[in-house]
Symmetry: C2
Subunit: 453 residues, 2 copies
């Protein structure tokens, strides 16, 4: 016997047991289905890229976190997001792609952060972006929150708000106060208002030399509340003629109109002047999404509009709009909050238990008939005592079992038992097939995420 | 403007344009669906592992190919297959898992091979394994080829053979010739017979000191042909009493019986004494799969039975059986052979084209109604001239379009056009919804892989 190495994984890497894995896969499938429902096309870029290409733009904090290494003559890096590879891909294939290019990508990305609760070094991002060549209509910015609304309601989230703002409005407003040169700094500070509060924001603004009158105006502005059309009215009444400000309001009106036309209920989205996203990258619409009763989750889905996706790789102007779900972290938050109640360890709707090896043939044949009807089926194959087979059925949490013993074999019937209600019935094979197919369809599909009311 | 970096990727990494990406995704979905149809539960292990854990067993060629690097204090490696992580996972969680443990994993693995045609440094493996604790019934070995049969027929492969053998038969036979000590070497040589031919095999066997009489016996044995039951009869008539030989025959009989009971047509599987798989790892059943008219593809799906999955990580005996599809390489072979005829660049069944911005609202509302019925829909949003919108529709290869102009807006109708037949009809909205839902269902689902007859 060779020496035993302790089996373990690195900290900061998520690895789930089957009951939870099944649930995150269901969430992933809902995300993917919705991306495709809106016509986004799949993309799959390499995890490893040439460092000189991947890091063309990076710097500062990001660069420190990169998994970077040599292999042969190559300096390689693992991707740290899906946006830079998208920029590289679109620049590289711009003559082969059709624009607007709507793509989704669901994949793992890598950041060597110091491990801490809720932070992962390997995590899934689920991204959609719409990229135009030279220009891209503002109504695209309405489609993305609609996709997110569909995903979040289908996975079982309730009571969430997609907050929408436009950088141009903020920029224009600061310019109207004569603070154009400090616009980026102000945005970085006010962006934290939900986290650090008005008092700390005020102090930070004082530090960068904003007067108390200006601070009052800024705070008044970003904390404007009310129905979307009320906020819009307030903005119009301000009589600011700055181009960016006016353009930003036009844009946000279009986005809100589009969301309405797409049928997203108004309680799920909100014009919120306080959000600004840290990244300099965004130039127009910005999104953040929060669970109303769980502000501690922070933004669970963010994104925005950018003027130029790939200026590091091409001189072609590629404006776009994108939004991203950080699935690994979000799932971890769901688990911590008790929203994930997984105990089912199998994708099977039914487990077939032959009493003895004599009934194996009937079990296999029954399983083949069910699979032909698209039912997920497992046949128990091990030759062990029946009570142990039942133990297995209970452990994996399968919703139905089929029992085939000597009686059933002789009479061509099958015992079907509902493992939740414990109801059971004996049916001839053909009827058993119909019954299981029907039950599998009707099986109350619980939301993967179980938020309390 | 910052300096432009040439956008490129590393050689040996597959990155597809949308039309092909859509097809490989369809294949992946068929693989995943079938894995779940048979009750395999999903697993997702990290791409990065601790080198000391991942490489506990590796050595020689494999170790040279590893992407290995330092990050902080850790010596890290990218996984080079999905079997070692499975072994590590099962050993680590053996008290939390339910046995037999049936898992599937579809994920990327990394091997820094010298790039050459058909070899990839990053590639998808699609694995299923069934792991027992202490023991695992031989009938499990019948289930895996049944899964593969279902997958390959559903993706459009025809005329393929799953060859099945059992290492115990080969080992027993060599022992009966008094060649027990050379058994591994002989297996390694005879395994290549399909590639290098009888003459080269003979020469190699001479080199390791096998007599010409023994070589004749070996070649006769491994080239035994005929129907499965004929081959079994031939084996019985040989009157070899070696334990392994006898046990191997019992096992293969069970596997063939199980395949029959599971309803796999006999023309798709074959007892083939010439296959032996290179790896020492396998101890019983072994599988290889070939396309009958394309022997140059080599084995497109292989696997087998092993006695002990995780001896490097635990003293618990974990026998298992597994099979694997190397999707990236296989897809590349399909492309080279002309089996992939992708020109559709969207997952959408229909593209809605509003003639002008006035019809945008109706387009959005129609799209929402279709999505509610589970149809993949794209709305064309850019405000450009209509002929350019049609150009877009043609380029992305969408099967249907809906046109909404002033007439339609005024009369509450929609023009639906089939892009393949060019047929078009004008329908009131509710009927248009029904028609599109129906067409999307009936849309002749072409196999993703189009093999010539």
């Amino acid at each position: 016997m060779s020496k035993i190495v302790e089996p373990k994984i690195l900290s900061g890497f998520m690895e789930l047991l089957p009951a939870q894995q099944i649930i995150i896969e269901r969430i992933k499938k809902i995300i993917q289905n919705n991306f495709e429902h809106f016509g986004f096309t799949p993309l799959d870029t390499p995890v490893i890229e040439l460092s000189e290409v991947l890091l063309a733009k990076a710097g500062g904090e990001t660069e420190k976190q990169i998994y970077q290494f040599q292999k042969g003559d190559n300096d390689l890096s693992l991707r740290f997001d899906l946006t830079v590879p998208l920029a590289r891909y679109v620049a590289m294939h711009q003559n082969e792609l059709t624009f607007p290019f709507k793509r989704y990508q669901i994949g793992k990305v890598y950041r060597g952060e110091r491990p801490q609760k809720g932070r992962f070094r390997e995590f899934y991002q689920c991204d959609i972006d719409i990229i135009g060549r030279e220009k891209l209509n503002i109504l695209n910015d309405a489609e993305l929150p609609c996709v997110i609304y569909n995903i979040f309601t289908q996975i079982g989230l309730k009571d969430f708000t997609i907050s929408i703002n436009n950088r141009k409005i903020l920029k224009g407003f600061f310019e109207s106060l004569g603070l154009a040169s400090k616009s980026s700094d102000i945005l970085r500070i006010t962006d934290k208002i939900a986290k650090i509060g008005q008092k700390n924001v005020t102090e930070s603004l004082i530090e960068i030399g904003i007067s108390s009158k200006e601070i009052e105006a800024i705070l008044n502005f970003i904390t404007t509340t009310g129905q979307n059309n009320e906020v819009l009215k307030t903005l119009s009444r301000m009589d600011i003629t700055n181009d960016d400000f006016v353009q930003g309001i036009l844009e946000i009106k279009e986005v809100l109109r589009g969301l309405n036309q797409l049928g997203v209920p108004e309680e799920f989205y909100k014009l919120d002047l306080s959000i600004s996203r840290g990244l300099d990258y965004y130039t127009g619409t910005i999104y953040e999404t929060t669970l109303n009763k769980y502000p501690q989750f922070g933004s669970i889905c963010s994104g925005g509009r950018y003027d130029n996706l790939a200026s590091f790789y091409t001189t072609t102007k590629l404006p776009g709009v994108g939004i991203s779900i950080g699935l690994t972290r979000l799932f971890d938050q769901f688990c911590s909050a008790g929203f994930i109640k997984g105990y089912v360890q199998t994708p099977s709707c039914i487990l077939i238990l032959p009493m003895s090896i004599q009934e194996q043939e009937m079990a296999f044949s029954f399983s083949a008939q069910l699979r032909e009807k698209n039912v997920n089926v497992e046949v128990f194959i091990e030759d062990i005592k029946f009570p142990k087979k039942m133990t297995y059925a209970n452990k994996i949490g399968v919703p139905m079992i089929a029992i085939i013993g000597e009686n059933e074999r002789n009479s061509g019937t099958i015992v079907i038992k509902d493992m939740v209600t414990a109801e059971q019935k004996v049916l001839p094979i053909d009827q058993a097939v119909k019954f299981v197919v029907q039950s599998a369809k009707q099986e109350k599909v619980l939301f993967p995420v179980q938020m309390p009311l």
